[in-house]
């Protein structure tokens, strides 16, 4: 039976299987299970509630492969994707559900034991263990990438680009958790993590410079073919997206064939979870790039990828600076001054991008929040980028990557030196600005749009100067 651990009460109407299936004391779900559930909202002052749906895998012989994913829909919204790596594994999917009206809960798993095998006429996929009410929550935001694309096409009259990539850029200063966050996002069934690219800024600058150079002529290529800059840049972005898809696909194939070692790069060993397909015939469609230098090129990248989302990770400056100073060991110590200037410069660029693009395109994430509650942090990030939840992404945080271990004494020493800075040079106000923006929200600042455009001009003009 479905156990109700806390109020409010659930009532479930089963549609996909009969009560006879409960005879062994385990409530099994078939490969595709549709439940109708009502949460009794009496006494509750909320329209939406977050619940924890507990499900578990069965014995190994049920499944053709591990890991496999199960997709959980609330009404018709894909709300969460859970993954099972082993037999008899229990996981909790966190779902936002409406209160006081029936809703459908549909669970679709990749694999199941077909009925009639091993003397059991049931189709067995997952064990349904229970549900817990957690807390009142906000209604989920609409996730409508297709209408957004359609709007874009209609507004910009795009003829030449058939699809617009929707990449994710993790930006922020060095030593702020950009790598680990990138890998965590790249666990999602619809996103794959790229190695740090590092070349996109110059490439994008070249595209801008090319357009500007050609557009100077009175009767120029773009005018004659009626190609506005937006469309040209989006076409370049589309080409880069295809390149990333092909290069990643090749790498995955070579890795599958055992022809390259290590491959995917998270821990050095082969890791089947870093893959390019969420199912056998369902490729991941989006990529995430965590190159910190992209922070400086955000406006150029947004030109190439107008639907890109930027996750701006901000770490307390004292910790980030302490980590920069000691990253790579004593032989390669970065002077404190350099580290401070770098943190301030990069964080200022991130702040500028946030102000210029607004919260629709930029999400500020605090490193401390990610470390303290990765599950919640990842949930918020997936919500922001318009993807269903994927709690398994937090597995990345169970292992630290690319970490500069700091002993308490060293960290204390750096903190003390930074505390001693005169107030004008302290990085704390900048950090606090971002913290308050994250807390209180913000809106697009036209002056920031102008400033970020001026900054990108510098690179474009330099390219023009060198090439001509």
């Amino acid at each position: 039976m479905v156990s109700v651990l806390t109020e409010p009460r659930f009532s479930i109407e089963r549609r996909s299987y009969s009560d006879g299936y409960l005879s062994d004391g385990i409530e099994w779900l078939p490969r595709r299970a549709a439940l109708e559930i009502t949460i009794d909202g009496r006494g509750l002052d909320a329209d939406w509630y977050e619940i924890g749906l507990e499900v578990g895998s069965g014995p190994a012989e049920i499944y053709r492969y591990f890991p496999f994913a199960s997709y959980i829909y609330v009404d018709d919204r894909l709300e969460s994707i859970v993954e099972f790596s082993a037999e008899l594994e229990d996981v909790t999917a966190y779902l936002r559900v409406p209160v006081g009206r029936p809703f459908s809960l549909t669970i679709v798993s990749e694999v199941a034991k077909p009925p009639g095998r091993n003397g059991d006429d049931r189709e067995l996929s997952l064990r349904l263990l229970g549900m817990r009410a957690l807390e009142a929550c906000a209604a989920p935001a609409d996730r409508t990438p297709l209408p957004a694309l359609f709007d874009y096409y209609s507004q910009h009259q795009v003829r030449l680009v058939k699809t617009l990539p929707q990449p994710v850029f993790v930006i922020g200063s060095y030593r702020s958790g950009t790598s680990i966050l990138t890998w965590a996002i790249g666990q999602h069934p619809n996103l794959w993590a790229l190695e740090e690219t590092g070349f996109l800024g110059l490439l994008a600058g070249g595209a801008f410079a090319g357009y500007r150079n050609a557009a100077r002529a009175p009767r120029n290529f773009f005018e004659i073919y009626d190609v506005p800059q937006d469309e040209f840049l989006a076409a370049i972005g589309d080409g880069i997206h295809r390149f990333f898809s092909r290069a990643s696909e090749r790498r995955a194939r070579l890795s599958d064939l055992g022809l390259i070692s290590g491959a995917p790069g998270l821990h050095g060993e082969r890791d089947q979870r870093i893959r390019l397909r969420s199912e056998e015939y369902s490729p991941k469609r989006r990529w995430v790039d965590g190159t910190p230098e992209n922070t400086a090129y955000a406006a150029l990248l947004r030109g190439l990828f107008p639907l890109a989302k930027f996750v701006c990770v901000v770490r307390h400056p004292y910790d980030a600076i302490a980590s920069m100073v000691h990253f790579g060991g004593n032989r390669e110590q970065r002077a404190l001054e350099d580290a401070l200037n770098t943190w301030v410069g990069m964080t200022n660029s991130a702040l500028l991008a946030a102000r210029a693009f607004g919260p629709q395109a930029v999400k500020i994430v605090l490193y401390d929040d990610v470390v303290n509650d990765p599950l919640r942090a990842m949930r918020e990030i997936f919500e922001f980028i318009g993807e269903p939840r994927y709690p398994a992404a937090k597995r990345v945080f169970e292992r630290r990557i690319n970490s500069s271990e700091l002993d308490r004494e060293t960290r204390g020493g750096v903190w003390a030196r930074l505390e001693a800075l005169e107030p004008m040079r302290s990085p704390l106000p900048l950090y606090e600005t971002l913290v308050s923006m994250r807390r209180d929200g913000w809106s697009v600042d036209p002056s920031a749009e102008v400033e970020i455009a001026e900054r990108q001009n510098d690179l474009i003009e330099r390219l023009l100067c060198v090439v001509s």
Partner: protein, 304 residues
């Protein structure tokens, strides 16, 4: 085992008509583009900037350990070809207004500035062919001096002579470095005097048959400066007085003698072309763009 990122059938095979301004690059571009297998393009004017940015990006990260291209096993030439393939797809869509043709699979770009970027363009389009048009320098200068009549900007004698000299030097370097399979030198005079035979030779070089549409297009005179013979003579006299006359003549003779001699690879020409190609360090060298300094500092640190 190496899996290619691109099928052979996808490899772009564009044609670049290069040479000085006012050397017939436009008319030849449209003549070649009249062929049913080719699309003529308006002068692009952006390939070098974009290609330079893209390859400078490659070079920038190349020295960092465990860089993107290392990890994905993407060589510089493969990356350049991928950038070129994306450009090719864009050109095909642009020239066909979003509906690429299955017949016209190659495009022709007659931007004279491309003459300076043959090395770069070959890095983007390894299968590209270059038709290097050379016109008598004095006539070219006369046409450039009166370019305002064809909608361009009129040049002074020295500016016009310098333009011819510089572009011709670059075009010849490309021929010396890459040879007649990649660069075909065509004299403007031959194109005018014997259009059918000259076009036939060009199409042979491009690996295709000639087409009557191309010859018909050559009969049209487009984009002409309409310089009279008296005006031309006057400019010639001014060229001689300016001191450019002998120099231009010597350079033109050099073109003729290179054309007449059998080709052998000229490594020095290749080195010179390489030295003229913008490098990321030159792109990034100066200026106030702070983020680039972080990039360079980080790379330096990693190299240590």
């Amino acid at each position: 085992m190496h899996l290619s990122l691109m099928k052979d059938s996808e490899t772009p095979r564009p044609v670049f008509v290069t040479g000085s301004y006012r050397s017939g690059t436009s008319i030849l571009t449209w003549a070649l583009g009249a062929h049913p297998h080719f699309h003529p393009l308006e002068e692009t004017g952006w390939l070098a900037q974009y290609g330079t940015g893209a390859l400078a990006g490659y070079d920038l990260v190349l020295d960092t350990p465990r860089n993107f291209f290392d990890v994905y096993g993407v060589s510089r030439s493969e990356f350049g070809a991928q950038v070129g393939a994306a450009i090719d797809a864009f050109m095909m869509r642009v020239s066909a207004n979003g509906m690429p043709s299955t017949e016209r699979r190659r495009w022709v770009d007659g931007t004279p500035e491309n003459t300076k970027h043959v090395l770069l363009l070959r890095q983007l389009f390894p299968e590209a062919k270059f038709v290097f048009l050379v016109r008598n320098p004095k006539d070219t200068v006369a046409s450039l001096v009166h370019f305002d009549r064809a909608g361009g900007a009129a040049r002074s004698i020295s500016a016009a002579a310098r333009a011819w000299s510089s572009l011709t030097h670059r075009g010849l370097l490309a021929y010396r470095a890459f040879g007649p399979d990649v660069v075909k030198i065509v004299l403007y005079a031959d194109l005018l005097d014997e259009p059918a035979a000259t076009l036939k030779g060009i199409f042979e070089f491009l690996g295709d048959d000639s087409a009557p549409e191309a010859e018909a297009m050559m009969q049209q005179r487009i984009n002409s400066s309409n310089v009279t013979s008296e005006e031309r003579e006057a400019v010639h006299r001014r060229i001689d007085r300016s001191g450019w006359g002998k120099r231009l003549r010597r350079q033109y003779d050099e073109v003729l003698s290179v054309m007449a001699a059998p080709w052998s690879r000229d490594e020095e020409a290749l080195l010179e072309l390489e030295s003229l190609q913008p490098l990321p360090t030159r792109v990034l060298a100066s200026g106030q763009f702070a983020p680039l300094r972080w990039v360079l500092a980080r790379i330096r640190e990693r190299i240590k």
